[in-house]
Symmetry: D3
Subunit: 322 residues, 6 copies
């Protein structure tokens, strides 16, 4: 098989602004069985309760991801040397029908998981993660490392609606997709409706690291705590771009001031090396609120950091014969 097929176009040969935009300048491949890691978009914001726009996220992240080169600057390793990666296109979504979308996203991700590939989804709003978890947890509940300004653990919105981008992880726990004692939430902050959600979360045994504690622990401390909570079991990584301070990531629907700094994000992510990641997402990038594209650029960089983590996991599992 031709490994070159799964390498990005070389920006030192072909300028970055040339050609149709794909994730990381990778080829578009339809069959997940051909790849180890499947990057795909979830162009959907059907669960958004406030400012819309994440339906446009995948396309803008594709555009800005052309800025990423093939080798990680600190590890000096390239994910493309470790495994086969491609752009699988977008999951089918429907801007009008919430439940049909949840199902079609889950089915798309499920096909990837069944084919033995690791899904890396680019959202889309955070309700997407519920659909993705349905695929990622098909063999049993998973742990989760969750970067976010919000817990997304509400019970319902607007008079009883159970499925919004503020409720995915409560549903995931109810559906048995997540093991709450292996869930850690990083960067939580901002004003809240009430303390009800926090109390429910605490009752489930979830570990919350609010921004104030993250500041005190430092990135290494946060990463250590995340590793401790996630343990050695299969773990999902969900990255809501609003975990980052809105000066760095204005293009999102529910910005909360005083968030994580990108240097902290990099340090925390790089500290997750030993976690057994089985799937991941980067969500809530909203291009209509991101005039300069800086949020998408940051999201593309975070996706690359996560891709490097996933590639190491794939290599490790392969080495372990799993």
């Amino acid at each position: 098989m031709n490994e070159r097929r799964f390498a990005p176009i070389d920006s030192i040969a072909v300028p970055r602004f040339a050609g149709p935009a794909t994730f990381m300048r990778l080829p578009v491949i339809e069959d997940p069985a051909l790849v180890d890691i499947a990057i795909f978009g979830v162009p959907w914001d059907g669960g958004t309760t406030n400012r819309p726009g994440p339906r446009h996220g995948p396309r803008q992240v594709r555009d800005m991801s052309g800025m990423i080169r093939r080798v990680h600057g600190v590890s000096k390793r390239s994910p493309y040397d470790l495994c086969k990666v491609a752009d699988l296109g977008d999951a089918p979504t429907n801007p009008i029908d919430l439940h049909r979308s949840l199902e079609s996203i889950a089915a798309f991700a499920d096909r990837i998981v069944k084919a033995g590939a690791v899904p890396l989804a680019i959202g889309g709003d955070h309700l997407s993660s519920l659909a993705l978890l349905r695929a990622a947890a098909r063999s049993g509940p998973v742990g989760m490392i969750h970067f976010d300004a919000h817990q997304d653990m509400a019970d319902s919105y607007f008079g009883g609606l159970k499925y919004t981008h503020g409720t995915p992880f409560r549903r995931a726990i109810e559906e048995g997709l997540l093991d709450p004692r292996r869930v850690v939430q990083i960067g939580i902050r901002g004003s809240i409706y009430s303390t009800d959600d926090e109390q429910w979360t605490a009752s489930q045994g979830i570990r919350v690291i609010p921004i104030e504690e993250a500041d005190a622990l430092g990135p290494d401390g946060v990463a250590a705590e995340a590793r401790r909570v996630a343990g050695s079991g299969p773990t999902y990584l969900s990255f809501d771009i609003d975990s980052v301070d809105p000066a760095f990531a204005p293009g999102t629907g529910t910005p909360e001031v005083a968030g994580l700094l990108p240097r902290e994000v990099n340090a925390i992510l790089r500290g997750l090396k030993d976690v057994d990641l089985v799937a991941a997402d980067v969500v809530e990038v909203s291009p209509p609120f991101d005039a300069g594209g800086g949020t998408a650029l940051l999201a593309a960089n975070i996706a690359f950091e996560i891709l490097c983590l996933l590639a190491e996991c794939v290599a490790l599992r392969r080495a372990a014969g799993r």
Copy 2:
């Protein structure tokens, strides 16, 4: 009764940028029985199939409507001298639940109609108009003067979905809310999916004036034709801001180049004086795509032109003892 209560704040006394923003700087009134014309917002884009954002429309139009003064520059008449007008707030909407929103918008408008007031809605996407027509046509089918780049007469989207911002008027005809022989569509243009919708529309007897014919007729000719089609019966006026060229109205979800010019819009609207308007809307203003606010400013001006038309109708009907 204190007529002053229903007048805008005077911008020659209090600067236009002062105070909370309401439509036309009018007071916020809850009870529709107190007014003749009820301006209200429909902060909703649940029917949007492409770029979202009209849920933010009412607020931005409120902001820019502070630029409008109290007297019409050509007629030298003020709607506030003819009748009582207020900002009735926003219809209840739900960004997650399409059908509940359609019902709550219709109920809100119905309360206005039942109270004897004329509704002037600021959208919101075009599916809102279906809800509004359910209230406006409670005494029987109405005619419609419809400004738009698109016919919005599709049967369904995305595998059979019947309720989107591309289908409202097909539904309205099916529900018996519109008399198709008294419907005229102005400014239609752009590429199309197929000729099916046009054929259905033609079969209903609807009069379509594409932009090319509007150009040839001139604004006076268009207005004359619109008056002829609408006739003397009760008529709804629906103004989709994307009827206007996107250089003048970029802030909308489905822009089509080569549209109506604002001077033409003004001339056509002013030519509708004798039509018996019973309700109206201005829809599809999408602030996330309207950085400078120019679309909202134009929408506010168009809303004022329509308000002047409605006020004359109210005065005429009052004079006629209706």
Copy 3:
């Protein structure tokens, strides 16, 4: 009395983008005697020597303040449970007449103070603070905790003009409104015209914490020093948004690079709990230079932090029978 009347609209019931925008989604109330804390706008930039725009500040902060929920995320307390808060509208201002504006702002604030309510003003340029201090210091000179990139202690501008947004606190000291030994300035930085203003400030006994010292002290150290300087007497809190780094707050007239970070601001403000605050302002938000609205969002969050401080002060004073 109906306490509910002074609560924000619940964003989990009514979407945040719905309805006319008021501060924190609070009701608009005219009579200050009905509230404990009166939030109001000062739509004015008559003292601005460089880039204008703060006249539009109150409206944009109203818009973005809809993002704030009712309970503080760290204290888990809500100001609305402690006391009655409302949007009092805007102080009367005049974009053409500086002195008449100073008088009308002072009179508006005075009416609030006389009614026993605590003023929380959203500016407006920094000259507004002089007018506000005239009301706040009606019973004698007050201390001040002042966040700013600039000292605003100049004697005059442009050939002897004594009243600009660069001079308010020199005037306030001359008028006996401030006790200079109880004044602390936080975040001062950037190039200066000369060392004259610094020397005058030092001669008055004012404590200045430039950004470099703030960096060295850390937020807790800054807060401790501010508490020490302010002491137990009545204290005014003035927050110029340009104290924050312009990456987080570009929408201001005189940005100075290398400023405070929002996480530092939050930590310092939360460290001011024991100060006896009697009035406060958040000023210099300039929407024309704030395309994405991020500055107004930050200002709304800072206003909420301050509101929480003020509410605790009101509760304490009430408990103490003052």
Copy 4:
């Protein structure tokens, strides 16, 4: 004398983006006695009653005027071949003191007029024109060709203030600077506070061409009527950029939809060849509301059209020995 000194930098030799920006890439000259036409800025918006910003107008017009080449595309003549033109810098202004600014602007313009040069001012808000007229009319009342969306003939604002950007020409008539029977206003439109100003204007014998009449007359008809009204006496040309439709000129404080199109403006201006122009201005360009710079680019082009008219007048008067 070295005529080359008064020619723009050649953009076919030195790229347009190079060097400090001056009007039309002309040299900056201090002494008006050295030039025939003095272009200068009036960085001031002290008379602005609504959205501020024209104080930044001259600088942005300087920047965009680098796009203009030396020869007129239709007449094939260059103003720089007809007379000496330079950038005289900016009139002294004061953002805090309205009356001192009016005086210093008038004095600056007066020095130019006394030196025998023709002033071409780039504003600044429209109150600047009052100061400029005081210089231009030093030998007696002048006629005026006035492009604007608004008449700017109000008596007062905000409780009796006589000097705002809505009142300059009422003051100019009262001061005997304008001969009202030789004044024509082109492009007037939009909602109005009342009909009082129109009635006063009519009583003075001023000729108003609202946008609707301009549309009917066509550009040639408008130009003919302007020439007829202005007659053969000395005439001032005042161009408020808000006379143009806001799609073409969004960067202004009081935009009115449905305005003049640039092609119409060019045709009208080119039709004014025989008018004896003695001074001119282009005002109300507000860069904070003009993100892309399109308004300043249009203003620079209009200034060039006017410069060509003035150069022909200078040449004619020189030929006539005046």
Copy 5:
């Protein structure tokens, strides 16, 4: 062969914002022998003398072209029913090496022409057209219908440089690629460096229709004149987006005010039905100056109009057995 392969993704089934962006949502095909019309990008601005950016044009036009549906709104015909169309990717370019880029663009286009397909290039700056003409004119000089604000007929820039975006057509004539008597230039306007280029152009027998004449002729008159000049021989169509007024197309490097309106452009293009078009381009779209994407949307619409013309030509030639 599966004709469906060359149809756009159906936006009524898959939302327009989904999937990697390609021209008109067409498949990306490498082999030109498989298609009748090859749309491709030229991501290059190496010839730009002023504001850069067209190197980013193809990608943004791909993004916005997702808004175009499959059937023309006036003719009711679809180019995809007439012939096979695909996105051929981008021509190889080099942002540092002008001459190597000219060669690689020409070679890329030549491969298309040799394969029997019709090239439709999306630029890129106007120097690209020289490379494209080298391919299009391989069987002999062609005629040209050229929309532009500028003649692009200069001899040299910056001290003798012969290859810039201001010189392509002078070079093309010198190289024998164009038959100057069959060249028409539409929309020329704005200030000029000198009259030299015009004189040279006139001496070649080129027909120039400045904007003022276009206004007088009307779109039908312009189209008739273009047809007359082009005659029945093979003809190239070059569309510089700056021919359009900058209110409609701000995203370009050398905007000239007072240009063509999109409705005029549509009418002129639709009037070119009988011209034997053999290749075409749409150039000078500069995304860095096109914040809202409106210029790219317009360019995509114009590309679709041209695609429809080309498809009719292909069908005609096929019917004629050519």
Copy 6:
């Protein structure tokens, strides 16, 4: 000689927005022999491999530099009291011809160095630095303190091109302009093409401080290390604005997330007091990607910090009789 001639216009007398924009509001002087420090622009981006725009950098930095006052806020010293500084205009550049530009920039800088003045260049892309080094190193190789996200040490791009903004310092070392053992690179980060450039750099003995190490060392540690590496010999300071995090400096062509913070930059620069600086640049400011002007404002502040360093060096050398 009149020292006042070389002082900025006083912003407390003349508003900052008044007059043509020059660097720091300094006079424009042609003869470098009249000044001690020559600030000039390099409006050029001929070496840019990705997003263009730095050709517009000097003009926007001139505009924003009007915000800088004359005295440094921490040292309380003014560079204008130490030596004569002026705006020398722009180096001649050519957007089409790379090598001619390199030569003309070098010649311009050489004239300054020969006249005994210190060059402070405002770019322009980073290839400019190669030209500047040719002048600065005319008496022998110099050391360099280099702030950047990228090493700019590549051998070639796009098939062997040796001169791009990614290669200047490799060329400078090859040309003997830099002493690699006296070169330190600060802020390096982000993904890389391969490890080849790093290996070459290491083989030359260059000291690299990646962002992760800069974070660990702290600003004082970084400054100490930079001083150690640079030693006591003549040293060049090159500041690529992309060394700073893109939230603070979005206006650049190759943004890399997670960069230096402005407070760190200030602290590092202020720690370089004892280095013998002989020339400096601030490069890669790209206005088309800097909507709000914040990048240019930051660049102007950094240029002022560097100017203060250079002025102290000039004073020291003068005191030492050098």
